[in-house]
Symmetry: D2
Subunit: 337 residues, 4 copies
């Protein structure tokens, strides 16, 4: 079995998830080196996963002779720079979403990737959730016929701090971006227009910071389908992640996942547990599948399932949503991209 | 549309249910007369349902020239006597379960029915519950293949008084008798042996009165299938009525019914309402279907779906269960009947 | 028990439903007379339900001395006229939705009602569906806290003819109007703005007739909540009617209803039946509850739960949705009303 | 973090599961050596998991100086012998179920363990399934009150070969033994009597080999609860593993697990996937939890959650069930043990 030597840049929350997955669950992955500006933190991660090489600078990963592919988990504003460097160094690239908040910068990074001819994948992990993979397969198999309505509910268990909300580019670019990608993925078609209606209902501080915490967004697709997403930054019952595709021949949907499936019947009613609490639990399997698929595709020189264009389009839709909400009108993608 | 003139004997709890159903939901029924030893009670029922003739004695119903069929809802120990009288008077008969607690007396009553050539149906209403009708249809259509295991859960929301428990012939003859009929109905085969393991776990007074309140019963069927019933006199969460048929080609089951289907997601978990509380609610539709089918069958001279033999066999199985529990051994039906 | 003498105007599909309900399930209703321009049809209905007085003209009902309340089930364009006449005659009024397609005409009719001081109720039957009653109760009890997102899925099993689509005022006024009322009911607040995105995906003939068959609509409420409705004229799996209310303290939702609850496990998967097929089945109990509540309120001189204003607002929202879809922009209710 | 050096004896199906789990998911496990009579097979396993030491003989594991605990996955008839040897060598022991088919031999092995003072755990992995752990916790927390009925459905997707059926000691000792342990675990009480009613309905060859393939078993517990287990060797819809505990204060149950939770609504009905197909999938997490708990308990010198007595009792109940079925009568445990 051919293996691939990987270097991971960034050992924060998502970096650790990827490192753990790569070490424990991806047979073809060999995590050769990791880097983080916070060297001490990287050192601890390296120790607990038995990784030999630890660096402070991303350059040591990108220029490492034995590293064949880099996994970019550093802050968003470094993504494009690292992509360009890695592409020039001839390394294959896995990059966390979003690639960047600027379409120009994203385009520049993708140009570098194209010129270098390296493989590039964006971390839309939810595409690899077993529930949503099944939905996509059924849609692709024609089970729902022509898609008419794509419906996504996506609610977080707790709002981020107002500082994070502001610095992340806002809810559409930070949170809904996953749903935009999911909607495109399920529709099998491009978004042509966006209308977003948002509000601050959860935390006034988020509003003061210029962001929103509750939204309903309508997407118009080229193939005529209508998409609808509802978001909240705070669902007291936990992480709510549901998708439904309705079409001319039927409907398919996926519910939340639960830690176990007990039902308790007392004199007060019938009770079950809350859904899995947040993305680390809910999408654990999705993260593992994602990394397996990336490593397999690189090793086997196969097609990458989430392209640079997917990364670009999701940001474009998010920017359209932001503009729509600000200007209180439907916004065409062609105004944005 | 041909109608049938009915006389109802007994206006207690179940009598009232049948009268309401016949008046409101059975287009071919004409309730001509009702009778109850408690004439005042019968009078009130007659008034609220607009019934013209009210009698104290069952004979006035049975001998009423215009009455074509009688519905016997009087106490169990009068069933056989009324059946014989009605048969002799040439009336069709619907009789509540059980026909009697003595197999000899039942056989005598059924002989009278046979001689008179009148139609006779026993009130195993659960056969006409929409869930169980669907299960039966699927079993009859061969969807589960050869039945291997028939599994019935049947639990009451509250135990009867110890006095009732004793006078009714005990749990097997009063409560489980419905499950015995359901098991035979689903298996499409006769029971050959019974093993009952019972206990007094709910109310010691029931034990003192010589009865049990908790039981698991195994049935052996002629066709090789095994039946298993679990009973409790007290499920704090309400009336629990579930059936499952497992066979060579699949399994089909039916859950409880609920007053509505809301789900409430709070920070404490996911909640739904309790099942419909007791037989009046859960089997309301079954009672209506049962009466429609009886009236239709009489009017159209069609086959009655619950025969005298069904009434006989359910009592025989109950007596075998009682004997099995007392003698702590499997009891063959051939020892009983 | 005080009863009320009712006259029903219109014996088409919905008229028959109300007559059957009133006769069979509403103890306080006495259907004294019915009328239909098609006298033969009215005669048949009268015969099968044992109703004494049959008329060709609505005036014979409205002016009938013993009739205390009228139930208006005639075509929409007659509603306002009949309301005015009935109000002048001092009769209480139950009117099917929509009152009219013109806000001016509705206001005129409601003025007449106000002047006459009679009771008036609009037929938004879904408010009386047991599932949605439970949801409303939980929202009213504060179980979900402050409502943030009201989500309604409402899909019909089959599209109407293109002729009907055109003459009924279009999908928003004919079908979504129920959902607009439900959204207001659940939100407990008035709609201030509407954005509708609609398409013709089911039947091109509907498009040619100037109507749409698929839509997603966003509602903005005074209390800050966002409503979202998705509609289709054709769900191949049947009538799809779901409601979800998400708020600061939790979420409550209601699923579809099913004819029975069997589950079939074969080698191919796990299967259940389709939801109840259309509104006659799904909302049967709602129709009965609605009529009981109307008759009770009239007899007891109690508050009517669905007011003339409710009838007015739902039409206003529908008109705003129509305008929004045509003009491709969010439309404020204040532009309409 | 303290680790434990483990040696695994037997690299067949279950051996491989444990090795994979220990290597990939148990941080405190260090698989130092593995052994199998089939050395080539063991070699392959060692290679794919990077294990250094491979032996043909179990003695090389047991006597390996650095091995602190052995995991016995060899054929059942070697378990007791290896337990005795390992205990004498002072090694902690994890042994697959059943310990042996003879109560005398089991007692002998457990005596050796006791004398040596080593830790000993039997592989009843289902106790560590997240669903059943939740049920046990709720029962232990008093949520169901006093347990009255323990109900277990346990059906395999496919029957074993007739040869295997015979050599494994029969269905009760091979398959139902897991359910006997689960029933004891949930009841929190000892079984005093067993009645088993079994049949050959799946494969006549199993009957010819002296075994059964379908059964319903009633257990009587010291605390008064009644247990009921239904088994089949062939459920065409896959692996069916459900548990329900009913008591004085409520009921708690656990359903099957599914690979994903999609629902597909077509014109033919509503469909979902089949449950996880067999124990490798369904109990994957249980196997991992089991090994974590064993390694933790050894490292921390904590109490082992599945004792030698648990291993003994499950075999005793299985022998009683076998005798009950043969002699067609309830059998007391005191006749067996």
């Amino acid at each position: 079995m051919q293996k691939i030597n990987l270097g991971v840049i960034g050992t924060g929350r998502i970096g650790k998830v990827h490192i753990a997955t790569l070490v424990q669950s991806v047979p073809r992955a060999n995590v050769l080196a990791i880097a983080d500006a916070n060297l001490a933190s990287a050192g601890e991660v390296a120790k607990s996963f038995g990784i030999m090489n630890v660096f402070k600078s991303h350059s040591d990963i990108i220029n490492h002779q034995e590293v064949q592919a880099v996994v970019i988990c550093s802050p968003t504003d470094t993504h494009a720079k690292f992509i360009v460097e890695a592409a020039k160094a001839g390394k294959h690239i896995f990059c966390e979403k979003p690639i960047d908040l600027s379409l120009e910068i994203i385009k520049g990074a993708l140009d570098a990737v194209k010129k270098a001819g390296v493989k590039f994948m964006v971390g839309f992990n939810r595409r690899f959730d077993p529930n949503f993979m099944k939905l996509k397969q059924m849609v692709a198999d024609g089970k729902v016929g022509q898609p008419h309505i794509i419906k996504i509910t996506s609610r977080d268990p707790n709002p981020p701090s107002a500082e994070y909300a502001a610095s992340s580019g806002g809810m559409f670019l930070d949170m809904t971006i996953h749903d935009f990608d999911m909607a495109r993925y399920m529709a099998g078609s491009e978004v042509t227009e966006v209308y977003a209606s948002a509000a601050v209902l959860v935390d006034p501080a988020i509003g003061k910071a210029g962001d929103v915490d509750t939204a309903v967004i309508i997407l118009t697709f080229e193939n005529g389908a209508i998409g609808v997403i509802d978001n909240s930054r705070k669902a007291v019952y936990g992480y709510d992640q549901r998708v439904e595709v309705f079409g001319s021949k039927g409907m398919v949907n996926a519910d939340n996942n639960y830690p176990e499936n007990h039902r308790y019947y007392s004199a007060d009613g019938v009770h079950r547990s809350l859904p899995l609490n947040f993305f680390m639990d809910r999408y654990l399997e999705a993260y593992a599948n994602e990394m397996k698929i990336f490593c397999d595709a690189v090793c086997d020189n196969a097609k990458i399932p989430v392209s640079g264009n997917d990364g670009l389009m999701s940001v474009a839709i998010a920017l359209a949503a932001k503009k729509s909400n600000l200007e209180h009108r439907p916004v065409k993608l062609s105004e944005i991209i």
